[in-house]
């Protein structure tokens, strides 16, 4: 047993897991507010990362400004997408809604590949230090920053839903759309806002991953990886999404470790979360924190 490697991988998993958790949270946010499963979540990451990269390399903006412009752009993008494409889909059957987001996903993926190419493009360096020593482990400062940002976002979300007016309106909408509407909440605005927030936070995660690994179309696969996370946590639980993200992050790293040390099957890193997903669906279909659907006749 190589304990040091395992420890390093678990830490790695926790760091990546927080990012998964953030993306999963965005996913749950959209699902809770508008009952739409967003298969284009990964493309939000991709578009955000490419936009930021474009601002930085083409205009030579400092990172902080490029990042702010990216967030503004993604907010507008999320709102436009919701208003133009998803508003007509309200009240349509579930398969149509799923297919619209899938259609958007392959459209934007191809568009991004066309505009920016399929090769990995590195971000301009942002930090001077190459690696920071934490408890005897070498960790890239960006990862630490990413983790800090992720935790800040999570705390921000908690505050937002607990105390802000918009957040309360969103929770009310998630609870019962008709009642919320009769109390004077603009459902349209809530839907648009949830997409805007989701796009912005996803872009943030995309930029963090892009800074570490470079930007490429592989980013959109995170959108698929999010599914095991949200299923483990429960589709409509924000806390569940975060915990699910952490579990999936650690799980895939441990799977890689087990694979490399004992099993030698290869590719277990990508596929292990999906096996877990199937098992969870068979045993506990609504995840750890999800609300079971109770149907009455």
């Amino acid at each position: 047993m190589n304990w040091e490697l395992l420890f390093q991988l678990v830490i790695n998993g926790l760091i990546v897991g927080t990012l998964y958790g953030v993306v999963a949270m965005c996913f749950v946010l959209i699902y809770k507010a508008s009952q739409i499963v967003n298969f284009a979540q990964g493309e939000f990451l991709l578009i955000g990362a490419w936009t930021c990269w474009w601002f930085l390399t083409t205009f030579g903006l400092p990172f902080i400004w490029g990042f702010l412009f990216t967030l503004i752009f993604m907010m507008a993008f999320g709102i436009v997408l919701q208003v133009v494409v998803l508003r007509p889909m309200i009240g349509e059957p579930i398969i149509s809604v799923i297919m619209v987001t899938i259609g958007l996903s392959i459209f934007f993926q191809a568009l991004m590949n066309w505009m920016f190419g399929v090769f990995v493009q590195p971000f301009p360096p942002i930090f001077e230090a190459k690696a920071v020593n934490v408890m005897g482990l070498n960790v890239q400062p960006v990862y630490l920053l990413g983790m800090a940002i992720s935790i800040a976002v999570m705390i921000g979300f908690a505050w937002f839903f607990k105390f802000s007016k918009m957040g309360l309106a969103m929770r009310a909408t998630a609870f019962d759309q008709q009642v919320a509407q009769s109390l004077g909440i603009s459902i349209k605005r809530v839907f648009a806002m949830s997409w805007a927030i989701s796009a912005m936070v996803s872009a943030l995660a995309g930029v963090v991953i892009g800074v570490v690994n470079g930007v490429s179309s592989a980013l959109s696969f995170i959108g698929i990886k999010v599914f095991p996370a949200v299923i483990v946590g429960g589709l409509d639980s924000v806390i569940g999404a975060v915990i699910g993200g952490l579990i999936v992050g650690v799980l895939e790293n441990v799977a890689e470790f087990a694979d490399g040390q004992f099993l030698h099957l290869g590719n277990l890193y990508t596929i292990a979360p999906f096996y877990v997903l199937i098992v969870i669906l068979m045993v506990k279909p609504y995840g750890l924190f999800g609300t079971p659907d109770i149907e009455r006749i």
């Binding site: 579930i94 149509s96 297919m99 259609g103 599914f227 299923i231 590719n267 596929i271 999906f274 199937i278």
Partner: protein, 356 residues
Amino acid sequence: MAISVSRPCGQFKTRYRNDTTLFATPVTRAACIAGIVLVALSPLVLDSYYLNLMIQIGYYGIAALGLNILVGFTGQISLGHSAFFGFGAFASAYLNNVVGIPVWLAIPLAGVWTTAVGMIFGIPAARIKGLYLAIATLASQFILEDFFARADWFSGGSSGALANPFELFGFAFDSDQAFLYVVLGYVVVMYVGAANLMRSRDGRAFVAVRDHYLSAEIMGINLTKYRVLSFGVSSFYAGVGGALFGIYLGFVSVEAFDILLSIQFLGMIIIGGLGSIAGTLMGTAFMVLLPEVMEQLVAGIGQVAGDIPALNSGLAYLKQMSIGLAIVLFLIFEPDGLIHRWRLIKAYWKLYPFSY
């Protein structure tokens, strides 16, 4: 409402038997037979390019019909159809190469084998539905894809598997002209089979499960049985379509069966019309022809406006974008698919010039 316009004006049926005929009117039957004859005669006039497209529409159409039985008729969702399509292709190659079963027999056997696999992956469907099922089938897509890449004994791993041409009574159907008849035969059998299934007890049970599963259960329909059965039937169609695909190309490799193909299958049935057998074929034709049209379009723009390098190099992406865009636009503007448009056109001419 959509049904009534496809019938002659008014309902003149006096028996239930008349209500469940295979073809709604004698004209429909004649049109179908004429279509088959036309396709059968087409190798006389058309060149290889068009025959190739028709063969593609054939095998994709069979698989898409399976998906339509699952999604359109039973109301389940599957995002892993291309994995079953691929399983059929590999299974037929395996049965032929390793076990030594002749190709003509390997195709239906591959379908049966895929049915078994599909039913295993359909077991979660007994408990979950809607979104959760969509995600479960997404997982099965990745698990099967991974299996293909890894199982050297079955699929040849990353190097792929060779598939022999279709042979019957010592005659090899290895040219486009000859293989068209094989595919045509399968398309006819599978489509008539599906149309027949839908007027049987099991077919009506599928529709009942889709429309209101609680009522269906109260009426004595075993939900678990029909949900899993629907996955089985759909996998059978996917397996047969996949086997034909493998035999036509002569070579099967993992890369062909990615999630994009699953999405394309879903696009076919949505564009064609969910829950419509004829619509499936229309949607498949649309999806197969769309990339070709894009290619012509880019070539046309190149001729008019001079060569634009960005357009030519981005052709592959343009094709993918057009698929995504077509799905989104159809869902927003024509959620009932091409078949609905076709019925409207028929109704318009039926009442012309006094439409009221």
